[in-house]
């Protein structure tokens, strides 16, 4: 029995969880449910020793465990299966399994001997695992099995799965559930982090809900239903839809049969259809890694499409259409952190005729324009010469947003535009997007944040494995397509 008692943890100014308590019993599958940013991952990181809480206690069978020490926790039998695998793609499966349980460094390596217990466990679970296969070439589901085997074999009695279904196909999910139940029957405490209601209802015995870092409720699964859980997760749904119905917007963006390849040449988008009118906000939900980035990059003109049609007003979309792009990761794709705010704004400014003269940039007007953006978008910085890296996350995002929104784009593509922002900054970004739409911009809003989609989008779709499905109503959206 693992008990969390009054845990709080902040990252900088952001409060990840505050005063969360929960009890995880042996022989039970306990789901922890919440939206992105609700604090699930922080809670689990603390339980497994990867993060140290600012206050609070974790105890195992009544005995306090060391905090912030992952290897001590693992020795105590708390295993965590991360959402992001810790597998060396270049290694064989056997080598990855061996790496997790080496018997000292100065010894001859016997992959087959070291991998044996894990392979034995695989056999018991009914998994076909080829220890000589190169790990990186395996499908994601198979890689997850390796990751699970890697972490399970040392007689763990508490096993934490961090959003394990996010990357799996329906068949793979069913098989994973089979394994979770099996672990439960062996008497282990299984903790499942999730944000899809259907999955939780299918497999969990007990559920705990977090919202905005706070504990909301714990209940046996028999006492809840989808509506109840959705209400706990999302709170009262914002009375959004400030826009009219979809039909009234003049059509502009038109996608038919779009196919796009990902970075590793895999099919990321497979036959996607979408239409977005001027002034319309099309929301696209779904779990990361289902083609969101690839879709956004095609629309932003950054990535080539491998098939299908992307039209704007009946003609192929090209750079003559003023497109604004708010990329997902502001620190790696949005901003050059080592350059000044002014330089980061000039990324857009260099394309303006009034700020340039032929091949040259006009320093004076550029600076005035930057200062203007700073005050109009309320970016808190001492001067436009400050480094972008010295700003807080919210102000960094405002730099990106201001540069994109300054001249109203005809098409706006935004990916998780408020991820990691506090409430005020989020509200600001949301207002900008709504204003743009009111002024006639066609908006494609790609987000994993359901509040955000519910609050802004006229229509919401669900992106799964590179295909779109229309989602009607918040709760089925929360429930996902599991």
């Amino acid at each position: 029995m693992l008990c969390a008692d009054g845990l709080s943890k902040s990252y900088g100014a952001v409060r990840a969880i505050s005063d969360v308590s929960a009890t995880f019993a042996d022989g039970e599958i306990h789901a922890v449910l919440g939206e992105n940013g609700a604090g699930k991952s922080t809670l689990m990181a603390i339980l497994a020793g990867f993060a140290r809480p600012d206050s609070g206690q974790v105890s195992l069978n009544g005995i306090a465990i060391p905090l912030g020490q992952p290897f001590a926790c693992r020795r105590l039998g708390i295993a965590m299966i991360h959402q992001h695998f810790t597998l060396v793609p270049q290694f064989t499966v056997g080598e990855n399994l061996a790496l997790a349980r080496l018997d000292g460094l100065a010894k001859p390596l016997s992959v087959s001997r070291l991998a044996q217990p894990a392979l034995e466990m695989a056999r018991q679970l009914g998994w076909q695992i080829d220890p000589t296969a190169p790990t990186g070439s395996l499908p994601v589901g198979a890689q997850q099995r390796v990751e699970i085997l890697k972490n399970l074999a040392d007689n763990a009695h508490t096993v934490i799965f961090d959003e394990p279904t996010a990357v799996l196909s329906p068949d793979e999910i069913q098989d994973l559930f089979r394994v979770l139940r099996r672990l439960k029957h062996e008497g282990k405490a299984v903790i499942l982090i999730a944000h899809k209601l259907a999955e939780v209802l299918a497999v969990a015995d007990r559920v705990t809900i977090l919202r905005h870092g706070k504990f909301i409720a714990t209940a046996p699964i028999g006492d809840v239903n989808e509506e109840k859980l959705a209400q706990w997760m999302v709170g009262d749904l914002p009375s959004a839809l400030t826009h009219g119905s979809a039909d009234q917007y003049p059509s502009a963006l038109y996608l038919r049969g779009l196919s796009v390849l990902g970075d590793r040449g895999e099919a990321a988008i497979r036959g996607l259809d979408l239409e977005v009118g001027r002034g319309e906000i099309a929301g696209i939900g779904g779990v990361d890694g289902n083609g969101q980035v690839e879709l956004a990059e095609v629309l932003a003109g950054v990535r080539r499409l491998s098939g299908g049609v992307v039209n704007w007003d009946g003609k192929p979309l090209d750079e003559t259409v003023h497109t604004g792009y708010i990329p997902q990761d502001r620190q790696s794709d949005g901003l050059a952190l080592g350059m000044s705010i002014e330089d980061n704004l000039a990324i857009e400014g260099r394309t303006r005729t009034e700020l340039t003269r032929g091949a040259f940039l006009r320093s004076g007007p550029l600076r005035e324009w930057s200062k203007g953006l700073l005050s109009r978008f309320d970016i808190r910085a001492q001067s436009v010469s400050d480094l972008a890296g010295s700003l807080s996350g919210g102000n960094q995002q405002k730099v990106v947003v201001s540069r994109v929104m300054d001249l109203r784009p005809e098409l706006l593509v935004a990916v998780n535009p408020t991820r990691g922002l506090d409430l005020q900054a989020s509200a600001f970004v949301h207002q900008q997007i709504l204003d743009a739409a009111s002024a006639g911009t066609a908006v494609v809003l790609i987000s994993t944040d359901l509040d955000e989609l519910a609050g802004l989008a006229d229509r919401t779709y669900f992106l799964s494995a590179g295909r779109l499905t229309e989602a009607a109503g918040a709760s089925s959206m929360v429930g996902g397509q599991a």
């Binding site: 990059e297 794709d333 050059a336 260099r350 340039t356 040259f360």
Partner: protein, 334 residues
Amino acid sequence: MVGLFAILILTLLVLRLPVGDSLTLLYQGAFGSEAGVHRTLVRAIPLVLCGLGVIVAWRAGMYNIGGEGQFVAGGIAAAAAVKPLFAMAQPPAWWVVFLLAGAASIGGGAAWGALAGWLYVKRGVEVVISTILLNFIALQLLVYLASGPLQESKHQLPLTDRLSSGMMLPKFNSQTDLHVGIFLALLTVVAVYIVLYKTKAGFCLRLVGENARVARANRINSGQVRLLSMALSGGLCGLAGGVEYAGVAGQLGSSFSQQWGFLAIPVALLAALNPIWLIPSAIYFAAILAGSKTMAGFVSDGTVLIYVIQAAAVLGLVAIRAYTSRRVIQTEAT
């Protein structure tokens, strides 16, 4: 600059040289007389031009350590372009020679640099490795050409024909080496500064070097920018070779290269890859080079002394940067 001075003193101490006397001698040699000042400035010219080359490439994220080879390639191109002039009955004016040599040297250096850029963009060959290999190839090519196709007309020495003093860049004082190329160096500093900070192309170059993913997200072709930056970088280093040829050396031989392309790397690093700060940085090291002539009793050649000072300064800079950035990370994480 204070740090640089401290490192100089530290180096002298480590070498167990009398610090006071050494500094006096260094100063006198570098700035103590008109001859000293000229000696310093003439050495600053190639350091500035090659340093600019380093800045342009490194700012784009291309670790061009092949300034030496591009310098030599520039010199070779200049000498090859000028060679037909020796056949003329009347030696042409210096500016004719220089226009020809300058243009050819830029072209030669740019080609040598662009080759490495192309290898990186198209074949994924690390610039660090390709440029250094190209350095050695250029050096051997130089020695070969100086004793082969470009050899002086009497075919006796492994040197090219020597430019007559009328064909070389004019000097301020016939007793010293300083030539009007110093103006060209200053002009080039201004030009590179303008390109980097006042033009769209220069902005894209800096953006690609700072964060290529942001550049990509804004439809900037990083490969193209990097290739061009290597060509520009090579062109600047090549120009340094051309100026050295037309201003100081007058002919090519195996000793044409005095490691300027190498020495310029720390010069540029210590100037924080900024074209304006490059001037004091280059003068500082040029002064040590020039001043160490008068220190011959202690140290035979300034080049080796400078290597040590540069290495210590760069490592010091790296350590300071690492510690400060680490502190920033720590405060952000908690």
